[in-house]
Symmetry: C2
Subunit: 501 residues, 2 copies
């Protein structure tokens, strides 16, 4: 599976691949040669626990998905200008997960293509151009989306805010403008949106859309407070604009309680356009936009054809259907809730011991741990966060950081993550935090050995401890799915995997 020595792979990459395309852990990049479920393996056979790849939604290399791809690819793969059952079956299945008015699909190839099309739909329907976006938001890498992504345009290499873009504050109750103790905090944040819209309109700007990640991801794993979305949607529509929920990062059941994250924030708010991506094909390049008949008809009425060469091909649709099958069959939403809640309880427990853990937030298996230098000032612990992900990587656990201060540890791994995996994360994180705190208290953080250590070779995972012992010692009082339940789930999943090959 490895055909080149790692150093040669790296050298060829430096010569032939765009330097803007970054590697994880640039000090000591990882070469992954295979993966299965929630585990990835490097060229030396080391097993990494994958807490970050939300694209491998139903598990790396899930055989149901591989089989669906192979079978359809052997029979037909062509464009959507021909009628095909897969396209319509998938469209019907996908729209069935959404409120009834969201019934018209467009199948495209990436989250970026989806959000670009979502903007075109909104602009055509409203006849307006301007866009209201959340600060720190990220919606994609094509030109039109970098323009509306503060995560890009307000950072290194960015061109700054364009006149047709209007920023609203992130509804972050831990670090934002209004915090957890403010009454009606959702409405307060929503009023900020109204003020922004009203101000823009007074200056003669015409708003086409409010676009938001249903849960902000790159911006720091933010869960908007109850009441926010409903109010914001109301203000947006009063201004003649439409509401776009970007579910690219968080859709397809990750939040556990619902299939879509916008449904999970307690507001019963319904967007006019939903964009989806990453997990939709478990790694296969595909994505979708779903909207209302009214918006689709307005877009169609211009007479301009929308043709997407690969979008909606029968292979992509077969894969999309397989992913939905697996989510159902393996109860991955239930699993996301169980494991996600268990992890969050565990992290909160760690927070009682480690002062660096400022906030633990999430829904299902979409979790952020906001690291702070001080629990009162909430000053972001950026350097520490970087150190932690390097140290966890040495322990063969893949984590990453995000948020404007890069101090939020994020967990959004494959949805088949289990309780044992969760324990492995909790135990190792506990050890790494203990190490960090010792160094910090002696002002030795800079001398921590991560830059030296990452080049050292290890032959296997560091974590080998007994789950029960370690778990009980550390997290004995956390309510935890019984071993039987957990093992049953795992057995069921394994069986389901094995059954299809």
């Amino acid at each position: 599976m490895e055909s080149l020595p790692k150093e040669e792979t790296l050298q060829l990459r430096l010569r032939h691949y765009g330097p803007s395309c970054k590697l994880f852990f640039k000090e000591s990049p990882i070469k992954i040669v295979r993966a299965e479920g929630q585990y990835m393996y490097d060229e030396q056979g080391n097993q990494y626990l994958d807490c970050i790849n939300n694209v491998a939604h139903v598990g790396h290399c899930h055989p149901t998905v591989v089989k669906a791809c192979t079978e359809q690819m052997s029979v037909l793969n062509t464009n959507s200008r021909f009628l095909h059952d897969n396209l319509v079956t998938y469209a019907k299945r996908l729209t069935a997960t959404l409120p009834e008015k969201l019934s018209v699909c467009y199948f495209v190839n990436s989250g970026s293509e989806a959000n670009d099309l979502a903007l075109r739909l909104a602009r055509t329907y409203t006849g307006n151009y301007d866009v209201v976006v959340m600060d720190n938001g990220y919606h994609g890498h094509v030109s039109s989306l970098i323009d509306i992504s503060p995560y890009k345009f307000n950072h290194t290499g960015g061109e700054g805010q364009k006149p047709f873009v209007h920023l609203v504050p992130v509804p972050d109750v831990y670090r934002g403008l209004y915090r957890e103790n403010v009454p009606d905090v959702g409405k307060k944040y929503a009023m900020e949106v109204k003020h922004t819209i009203d101000g823009a309109r007074r200056r003669g700007r015409k708003i086409a859309a409010f676009i938001h990640e249903s849960l902000q991801s790159c911006g720091g794993q933010i869960i908007p407070p109850r009441g926010y979305l409903r109010e914001v949607y109301k203000h947006t529509r009063e201004a003649g604009a439409v509401c776009i929920a970007d579910e690219v990062q968080v859709g397809f059941g990750r939040v556990g309680s619902h299939f879509w994250a916008f449904q999970a924030v307690g507001d019963e708010a319904c967007p006019d356009i939903v964009s989806m991506g990453k997990p939709i094909g478990n790694g296969h390049p595909m994505s979708a936009v779903i909207t209302t008949p009214e918006i689709a008809e307005a877009f169609g009425a211009t007479g301009m054809e929308y043709f997407n060469t690969f979008g909606g091909n029968p292979v992509s649709c077969a894969i999309g259907l397989a992913v939905m099958d697996v989510i159902d069959k393996e109860d991955l939403m239930g699993n996301a809730s169980r494991v996600g809640n268990y992890l969050m309880e565990g992290f909160r427990k760690l927070g009682e011991k480690h002062s660096i853990i400022g906030d633990v937030r999430g829904l299902g298996f979409f979790i952020g741990i906001d690291l702070v230098k001080d629990k009162t000032s909430r000053e972001p612990a950026t350097a520490e966060a970087q150190h932690i992900i390097y140290r966890m990587k040495e322990r063969f656990i893949l984590l990453s950081t995000d948020g404007p201060h890069r101090n939020v540890l994020k967990l959004k791994g494959p949805m088949c993550f289990n309780i044992k995996d969760a324990d492995r994360v909790l135990i190792n994180l506990d050890q790494v935090l203990t190490e960090i705190e010792a160094a910090s208290s002696n002002n030795r953080l800079e001398q921590l050995p991560y830059r030296k250590d990452v080049h050292s070779k290890r032959s296997g995972p560091v974590f080998t401890g007994s789950r029960t012992l370690s778990h009980d010692a550390l997290f004995g009082n956390i309510k935890r799915p019984s071993d039987n339940d957990s093992d049953d789930e795992e057995a069921k999943r394994q069986k389901s995997w094995a059954g299809v090959d």
Copy 2:
């Protein structure tokens, strides 16, 4: 393979899929359930000869490609932030087909993503924004590309030309500003580009790029005259801009003589950025941009990361490598030359008999037949062209039309198209043209039965004639690859296909 009755497929599509997404032959859309090589099959088992799907480049469902996908997908499919041999091996292989200076790749998911990134590279490198584009050009469906595609912005539903876009005439020696009898016609068209650039600069505009389809496709299958590209590139660079060759439609050996179409027009001109797409993965959603180290470094130097979730994943790269393997192993470039030249000779021969054929042009298996009402005035035969493709479809041959007047029949099918297939096209087209001419000469074109007939059911291909007899009767004096050669090629191809499964 068909799970729904055709009418139900159509009704579900009307309900759940964007009305902007058009079907081929909207009067009587085709439901395709399987395909192999250059043949597609509908739900009734009718075999269609596919002359139009340039995406299924090495043949529909080629087993080498399916196998490469399945094998890699079973082992690992993840993003390019991890090191992987497939990415670097593919980058090395792809850049080896290009002039040495084009050595840095970006892997993305569609031609549109590729051209959007190409624009970003050009704009960042030059610090300029404006773009010079060819009239009737088409570069993709995302917002930034509709802005620079006259095929879109100047037609139904388009928003017209924006101030940063500068149009130059299509170097079409049959129908354009300067025609085949003008001396130095390539240079004359190039001077038009220079005038446009100079004019824009005098108005204070700063040009980032000249972007062109190496051979214009939607614009009417246009082959630029010798001398054009070299001169245009010179003028472009003198203005501080870069040259982008859009090979999305025409790359990967379709032109037969060269791997890239920009290499085939006789100018030894080398672009600064090449975008590729459609055929690259034989239908798998993938694409690429390749540029020089200088441009890549300038783009990297901004510090903004370029991350494309699916781009460069090991499955896409494995598929890309497999496609290149098949092109080599089955000598598909040689085949494109042989079959393409044979077809063009045949069409020219038909042109002696049928006055509707105004011009036959092409390179390899990229062919346009410009249909005219009158050979002298060259008035486009638009209605006739539409009629022809419907009649050919009834004869189970898939053709389409393009060009600003929709009067150019285009052929750009799978590269495994053979001489027998070519004869099938020639013979059926001859019959359809004879029918059309009879109707036209009696002013009965409007009453031709295609709107009625398309709903009739047929149980098999109309063409059943003996190839040798029909061929000799019609095209006896065309130099033709010997039956032995042709059969050898076919046998070799079949063997190669069979060998991998």
